[in-house]
């Protein structure tokens, strides 16, 4: 160390250091492969934005062209062709009813499961099995879930959930059947959001509660659940957006009658046991793939559906931002 020359300060201060990206190599001097990659990246990015704008813009254009406010409040016409009068009030009610049933059934399952995984989780092999099965449900195509629902609800013991025909066959298609399967669709996003929220709660909050003498279940009830409220809200909103967008389960499990068709004479239960339609099956039915032969109504209903999805996305964004401001933690707004 003593052999180093003594440090002398520079004679005059040099030019001030510039901050920023500094001198970058221009693409003209790159290798061909890199230039190709740059070009492709620009092409892909602009292309994706253009496609997105085209889809949203075209649906908006057609929707505004064909959507009239009275369509939202009129019941569908009774004939198979919908090109005359009639709106889509019953499909709207069907969508709302199905969403409520699906979320009501999914919430206890998902939150209970997430709480158990995050807070208890013993034995560990069981915890891993539960997590893998939720992943399996997440990756299962909705058509397979629909077939599963059909195979269950056409069993004799589930006859009260739809109706039994005079020859003894169980119909198996009703709001309850479709709602139960919709809860399986909404389960994975809700479970993942709640579990991630619970795992993000810092340990010191739990330890403080334990130090004050609270049992684990009491901490869950009084401390943890309130703090993951925004995660649960995000999960529920993601689940709702998956439910309202699903068509395959509706086509197989809801009996596809254009109007709500209650089954039996008890008022509320009859509606649940009955058949109906939703916005998605209405759009499918009125497109050239279905009987309705009313593409204008299909465009209008599709536009309404798109507006719902947009509103739900905005809600997820808003929840994410407000919770980030409040707690300093971010909510993982996943796509699943």
């Amino acid at each position: 160390m003593s052999t180093l020359a003594p440090w002398t300060p520079p004679a005059a201060p040099g030019p001030p250091m510039k901050s920023g990206r500094g001198k970058q190599s221009s693409p003209l001097s790159w290798r061909w492969g890199d230039r190709l990659a740059l070009g492709f990246a620009w092409f892909a990015g602009i292309g994706l934005c253009v496609i997105a704008a085209a889809i949203v813009g075209y649906m908006g254009f057609r929707g505004i062209q064909y959507l009239r406010p009275d369509l939202l409040f009129e019941r569908p016409a009774l004939s198979t062709t919908q090109s005359g009068s009639g709106g889509f009030l019953d499909p709207l009610i069907g969508t709302a009813l199905l969403t409520v049933i699906g979320v009501l059934l999914a919430v206890p399952l998902a939150i209970g499961g997430a709480l158990w995984i995050a807070e208890y989780g013993r034995p560990t092999w069981l915890a891993r099995v539960v997590e893998s099965s939720i992943e399996m449900v997440a990756g299962t195509p909705d058509i397979v879930i629909a077939l599963f629902g059909l195979s269950i609800f056409q069993l004799g013991i589930f006859a009260p959930f739809s109706f039994k025909a005079s020859g003894g066959g169980v119909f198996g298609k009703s709001f309850i059947a479709a709602g139960a399967m919709m809860s399986l669709i909404a389960l994975p996003p809700l479970f993942t959001a709640t579990r991630d929220g619970l795992q993000a709660v810092p340990m010191h909050m739990r330890e403080a509660a334990f130090a004050l003498g609270k049992t684990r279940i009491a901490t869950i009830r009084r401390v943890l659940l309130p703090s993951v409220r925004s995660n649960i809200a995000t999960g529920v909103t993601l689940g709702i957006s998956r439910i309202i967008g699903d068509t395959a389960i509706i086509v197989l499990l809801l009996g596809e009658t254009l109007r709500l068709d209650p089954q039996g004479s008890v008022p509320g239960v009859g509606l649940l046991r009955g058949t109906g339609s939703t916005l998605t099956s209405y759009v499918y039915g009125n497109s050239p793939a279905g009987e309705g032969a009313a593409p204008q109504k299909a465009y209008a209903a599709a536009f309404v559906l798109l507006l719902f999805v947009l509103a739900l996305n905005l809600i997820v964004d808003r929840i994410g931002r407000s919770s980030a401001d409040a707690t300093g933690m971010t909510v993982a707004g996943g796509i699943v």
Binding site: T80, G167, F171, G255, S265, P288, E291
Partner: protein, 272 residues
């Protein structure tokens, strides 16, 4: 707090039971029907008139999927009545009773822009079995290019009857596109200028497609009523065993009442 909760729970339960009890006393029986897409418009009209004539007695649940699906559903006990648009086959399950309710005609159709007025039986067979593939080989056709064959899926009764009555038992070529219902068949032919297909006269009488005559006889309700047209088939209502209860009342009303006959004769032909 506990007492209020318990009392409100008791009130809610009593309320639900109170509403349910009188409603449950006057139970309305449900008649479920499934089957042919060709007879669906007719049976829907008949059911609507029946409900208006005898209110609060019967509720109808009508679906469509194809005549064979109607036969299968009735045989399995999934529905009370099956709509079938073809005659009974030897392969049908035992124990089914076929009640004829109306007659209809099967018309060959092309797009409105392809104003083909007539085809002989030989031409129809050659086109639909796939031997003739180009419009240039069909005299009188205004279309050019490949013939787009449109057929029905195999569960359709109209397909069975078409093959028996107009194709002399031969099968439609596998090249043909298969539409699951009459409505879709009609809209496909409407939108494709090179297409040719077949529907019941109810669909072709709407005027959106060109109905082709067979062997010099035009295909419309007049020629079907007079019996000149050769492609005439029947609609049946099928039950497992003899019809009982609400199904029997409905089928009896269709066969005997004047109102039902009036409805049938608007677009179709009554049996008697």
């Amino acid at each position: 707090m506990t007492r209020i909760r318990r009392l409100s729970l008791a009130f809610a339960v009593a309320g639900v039971l109170g509403v349910a009890a009188p409603a449950g006393a006057s139970a309305v029986s449900t008649v479920t029907i499934s089957g042919a897409t060709a007879s669906y418009p007719l049976v829907s009209l008949l059911a609507q008139k029946y409900v208006k004539t005898f209110p609060k007695k019967v509720k109808f649940k009508i679906t469509q999927g194809g005549a064979q699906i109607g036969v299968n559903d009735v045989a399995a006990g999934r529905v009370s009545i099956g709509d079938v648009s073809r005659d009974p086959l030897a392969a049908d399950p035992a124990g089914l009773v076929f009640y004829p309710i109306a007659k209809y005609g099967i018309c060959v159709i092309t797009a409105k822009s392809n104003a083909l007025t007539n085809l002989t039986s030989a031409q129809v067979i050659s086109i639909f079995t796939g031997k003739t593939r180009s419009w240039a080989q069909v005299p009188g056709a205004a279309a050019s290019g490949t013939i787009d064959l449109i057929s029905r899926t195999s569960v359709a009764g109209v397909l069975t009857n078409f093959q028996t009555l107009l194709l002399e038992g031969k099968k439609v070529s596998t090249i043909a596109a298969e539409e699951p219902s009459e409505g879709l068949m009609r809209s496909k032919v409407e939108s494709d200028p090179n297409s040719i297909g077949f529907v019941s006269n109810y669909q072709s009488d709407k005027g959106t497609v060109n109905a082709v005559g067979l062997n010099g006889v035009a295909c419309n309700k007049a020629s079907i009523t007079s019996g000149q047209y050769s492609g005439i088939a029947r609609f049946y209502e099928v039950t497992k065993g003899k019809a009982t209860g609400a199904s029997s009342a409905f089928i009896g009303w269709i066969e005997k009442s004047a109102a039902a006959k009036k409805i049938i004769n608007t677009q179709w032909l009554s049996i008697s």
